[in-house]
Every structure is written in structure tokens, then in C-alpha cells.
């Protein structure tokens, strides 16, 4: 465990140093992130006081939450694969794999900076929503953290699968379609699942983000207690219990396969 923590620290410091070596990158990316939140003001004017969003505090509150959530979860999802691709592109993957760092540490460490940065983005977006649009965030912070953690774990599991795919096939990621596009379309991220045609709205129930978004909005925007969302929490825990070990096992097998093929460091 100590090794994992030390390696994660090493990766985190390295990525922070690398980011800060580009003087304006960090600053501009935060400005862009807030600008994306501001841009939601325009569709909010078009949607107006649609009753679909009323219980969620209006379209702006709904979409700002959805956008922040999606950003965080996709960072958790894509962090592992992009860490591997980036090391491979820079040419350092072989040198990293030649160290005694365990596989888990390489994976977790490599994505730690992206995750923290995206948490920072979320905080910034929610603050911007509060200050600029007067969105009111309610509910227990601990409850929110629990929902975010459980939802995030399912995305981490899909992230392992995506990293495994990147290790073996180098490019192209079939899981991104499922996790990214399907979540955005059917998961109630930017609009409620109730607007979907009945015959496809059930797809949303199969996606972890639907349950995460429902619980998160219930707590953050409607002020529900955590216990009011016990079903969503159980579903998310179930997803995590099944997907995490499977994702990890798949990643481990992918690395073994690439070592057998001799293609681990191929680009």
C-alpha cells in the first residue's frame, strides 16, 4: 500500500511540475471551464421555465450539475488510458515499466493529477453557478461525497477496461461510446430521462450515471437526505463490486498479453 501511495505522489508531483512548466495552460483551462458553464445561460433562456426542470431548480441548476458531474466522471474514466497513451507517446513508458513500481501504482498514479484537476474544475464550476446564476446547493456534503465516490468507482472500473484496450490495441476505445455517449444521451446528464421515448428510456436504468445523477441532484438541488436515495446507492455499490474486480483483472491480463506479444511499448 505504501508503494502505491509513494508512486501516486511521484506521479502527481511530476504531472503538476509538467503542467506548471507551461505557464498559461492551467490558468486558461480553468477560464475555459468556467466559460463552458457560462455558455449554459443561453440554452437556459430558450428552455425558460420548463416544468421538467422545476423540481431541480431550473434548467441552469440541472445542466450545471450535469456538466460538472460528466466532466469529473469522464476524467476518472479516461485518466488511465490517457496516462498510458501519453507515456507511450512521450517515450517514457518503458523506463516507467522498468522500475519496481507495481502495476496498480502506475495506473492510479498516472491518472491522479487528471482526477484532482477535474475535482478542482467541478468545484470551480459549482462555485461559478452559485455566484453567477444564484444556484442554491443544498443537502449534506458527506452524502454528496458518498454518491460521487460510488459513481466515480464505476467509471474507474470502465477506465480500467479502456486502459486494457489501449494497452492491447493502442488506439480506438469502444467503451468511450458506451460510457461517454450513452451516459450523455440516456443518463439524464443534460436533460431528464423522462423526455426520452418510452421504448428506450429503460436503457438509462442500466447506466451507473443515471443513478448517480438522480441521487446527486436529489441531495444537492432538492435537499433530500442520503437515506432517501438508498436504492441508487445500492445499485451504484453493486455496479462497483462487479465492475471493479473485472476491470482490474482485464487490465492485468492486457498487460500480460502485451508483454507476451512484445507490443507493450508500441505506439
Amino acid at each position: 500500500m505504501n508503494e502505491v501511495i509513494n508512486c501516486t505522489r511521484a506521479f502527481f508531483i511530476r504531472d503538476a511540475q509538467n503542467t506548471l512548466s507551461y505557464r498559461f495552460d492551467f490558468l486558461y483551462s480553468q477560464v475555459a471551464s468556467v466559460a463552458r458553464t457560462l455558455a449554459l445561460w443561453l440554452p437556459a433562456q430558450l428552455v425558460g421555465d420548463n416544468p421538467l426542470f422545476k423540481s431541480h431548480g431550473g434548467f441552469l441548476a440541472y445542466s450545471v450539475t450535469g456538466s460538472a458531474m460528466m466532466g469529473l466522471f469522464m476524467a476518472s474514466y479516461g485518466g488511465f488510458a490517457s496516462a498510458i497513451s501519453s507515456e507511450r507517446g512521450v517515450g517514457t513508458l518503458e523506463a516507467v515499466f522498468a522500475t519496481r513500481a507495481p502495476l496498480g501504482a502506475l495506473l492510479m498514479g498516472g491518472s491522479s493529477w487528471a482526477l484532482v484537476r477535474s475535482l478542482f474544475d467541478v468545484a470551480l464550476n459549482l462555485t461559478a453557478g452559485m455566484l453567477l446564476f444564484g444556484i442554491e446547493w443544498r443537502g449534506s456534503v458527506l452524502g454528496l461525497m458518498l454518491v460521487v465516490l460510488l459513481t466515480n468507482l464505476t467509471f474507474v472500473a470502465f477506465g480500467f477496461l479502456s486502459a486494457a484496450f489501449t494497452i492491447v490495441y493502442k488506439r480506438g476505445d469502444p467503451f468511450r461510446l458506451f460510457v461517454g455517449a450513452a451516459s450523455a444521451l440516456f443518463g439524464g446528464v443534460f436533460f431528464p430521462v423522462e423526455v426520452l421515448p418510452k421504448m428506450i428510456s429503460w436503457v438509462g436504468e442500466l447506466l451507473p450515471i443515471t443513478h448517480g445523477a438522480r441521487a446527486l441532484r436529489g441531495i444537492a438541488l432538492e435537499g433530500h437526505s442520503v437515506s432517501a436515495h438508498w436504492f441508487e446507492l445500492v445499485v451504484l455499490a453493486g455496479f462497483s463490486c462487479v465492475l471493479l474486480p473485472f476491470g482490474w483483472w482485464t487490465f492485468y491480463k492486457a498487460v500480460s498479453l502485451a508483454k507476451q506479444d512484445g507490443t507493450l511499448f508500441h505506439y
Binding site: I13, V90, G91
Partner: protein
Amino acid sequence: MLSRSAEMETSTVSPAVEMVGLHKHYLASNRFWQRRRPFAALTGVDLRVEAGEIFGLVGRNGYGKTTLIRCVAGLIMPSAGQVRVYGKDTVRDDLEVRRLIGWVGAEERSFYLRLTARQNLLFFARLQGLADAVALARMDAFAERFQCADLLERRVHELSTGNRQRFSIIRALIHAPRLLILDEPTRSLDPFAADDLRKILRDWVSEDARRSILITSHHLHEIEAMSDRIAIMGKGRLGAVGTFEELRTKLGGGQRVEIAFQPSVGEPELTALCQAEPRLQWRSNQGGSLLFFRREAGDEFFDHVLRQCQKRGFRIEQVTTNEISLQEMIDRLAESSDTASMPSQGSELHVAV
């Protein structure tokens, strides 16, 4: 978990590297829709590198040197056979093996270019489990030794290829490994820096009897000068292993004799002589021509050639004899492996996968 004394005992009796029946084949296809077929990179390699030894690996491009050392470093898995490093299996005990190994690969872009050399070294030292204070102290000591202390605070993209190479060797040494694996370590160094590096590496091995170096290089004089033993690789297998003198004996030994002629001796005459005497070869040389052949101990062929030249009226300018070089040994081995029934690099080999 071995106790410290048990570990010491293991390390004193175990060779640095031990390979038994190592096979490695890759799967490849040229087109997307083609089924991937195995081709052999290594076939049945048995090798033992003793602790305290500098072991050189030479051979032509594509003969499997890098595949072999990557198997030792646990960066690729053998298709069959076993590789042990100080008694530890490179597949089963891969983390233990990586702790024992310092790796200097042939990849030139192995650093984060935006970070300074110190930041890079510290990152890799942390991955090796070193505390920052220890890593920094060792880094400074090595940088002094490699005469690059003044470059530590420079970003890597500002460094020359040679200086990056020095830092990749420091990176490989910083966690105090026992086996240093070097793939073409002096390829980007100037002759003086290369000499310094060779001296540092020799000193590093001699400081501790348990340390070893496994080195590949195309600078054959470097391998000849540094290595206690040398392995010459044929296509995918070890052609010959031994000290330089042993190899010379094994591969026929002898001398290379070169006879330089005056310009009056032309191509047709030399071609005719070479056709009559198959052991002879000729080539143009700075306005004249040069006849050359390998002379075995107690060989009377030299006298025979001189008589032939005299008979044909060839005017000899100079005769030189040289001990056979490592390059000639590699050539000779390559020629013999070309004719032997061995799977060539890239040729298909049907191996059970």
C-alpha cells in the same frame, strides 16, 4: 519472504542471469485482415552470466539482442523457457527482479522533456521506492562522477543527446541495482565521454562482487575492451560464448592477411586469381587493389599465394597481418548461420502458441 542471511546466501550462489531454453516469438501480420502468425526472435537460448562479470552481447541488427535483454529485464515475457536474475524468475517475481536491475534502454526519448534532469531523476527514484533525501544525495554523487552536476537544473529538452544518455545511466544506477543492463550505452557519447563511461562502469562492477553488467553494443572495440565474456548472436540464438580469446579459438582463430598491390595489378588479374583460389578475396583500395584472406596457424597458404603472385608478375606494395577482429567473428558466425537451417528474422515459424 527470505531472511536477509538467506537472501545473501541465494545471491552469492546464484548467477546474475540464467536462461534456460529461452524462446521468444512475436505475432505479426502486415495487413489488418490477416491472421497474425508467429515469427521467431529467439530460439532455445541457454546463457549464464556470473555475478561480478561484464558480459557483452553482439550481433547484427535484428538478431535478437534487444529481445534477449528485454526478457531479462522482464519487459517482455518469454514464449517458452525461463530467465532468472540472481535466482529470481523474471515472470513470477517480476517486481523483485526489477528491484535488482538497472535498465538503460535504446529509446532516446525516455525522459520528460519539460522537466529538469533533477526532477526527472527524482521522479524515477521515487518509483524505485527511494526516499527523497537518499535519492537527492545519490543523484548529486552520480552527477559529480559523470561530470554533469551543472546540468541537473536544466530542462531535458535543453540537453544534448549525449548528456541525456548520461542521465539515463544515472537513473539506472540510482536505486543501487545489482545488474545493470545497457542497450547501446555509448551510442550518443563523444569518444572521451564514452571512455569515461566505460571506466565508471568497470569501477562500478569492481566495487561489489555481486554486481554485473549485461551490455549490447555495435561499438565492437568497446565490447572487446570491457567485457569479461562475450556472446555473439546468430539469428535468434547464441552462436558462440566465451572470452575474446576463447571465441577466437572457437571461431577458427588465425590472422587476416592483406596484400596491397601496385596500381598496375588490375581487376581482371585479381578476379582470375580469386577464381583459381576460392579462399582469396579482393577489393579496391586507394588507387590500388587489395587481396585478403584468413590465415590459420601452421597454414602454408600464405606461401602459396606469394608464389602465385610472383608467377603472375603482380607487384606487391605491402603485406599486413592482423589478429581476427570481433567483427570478423560476427561475420563468420552470420555466414554459418545463414547457411544453417535456422529460422531467419521475420520468417515464419510455426510454434505452438
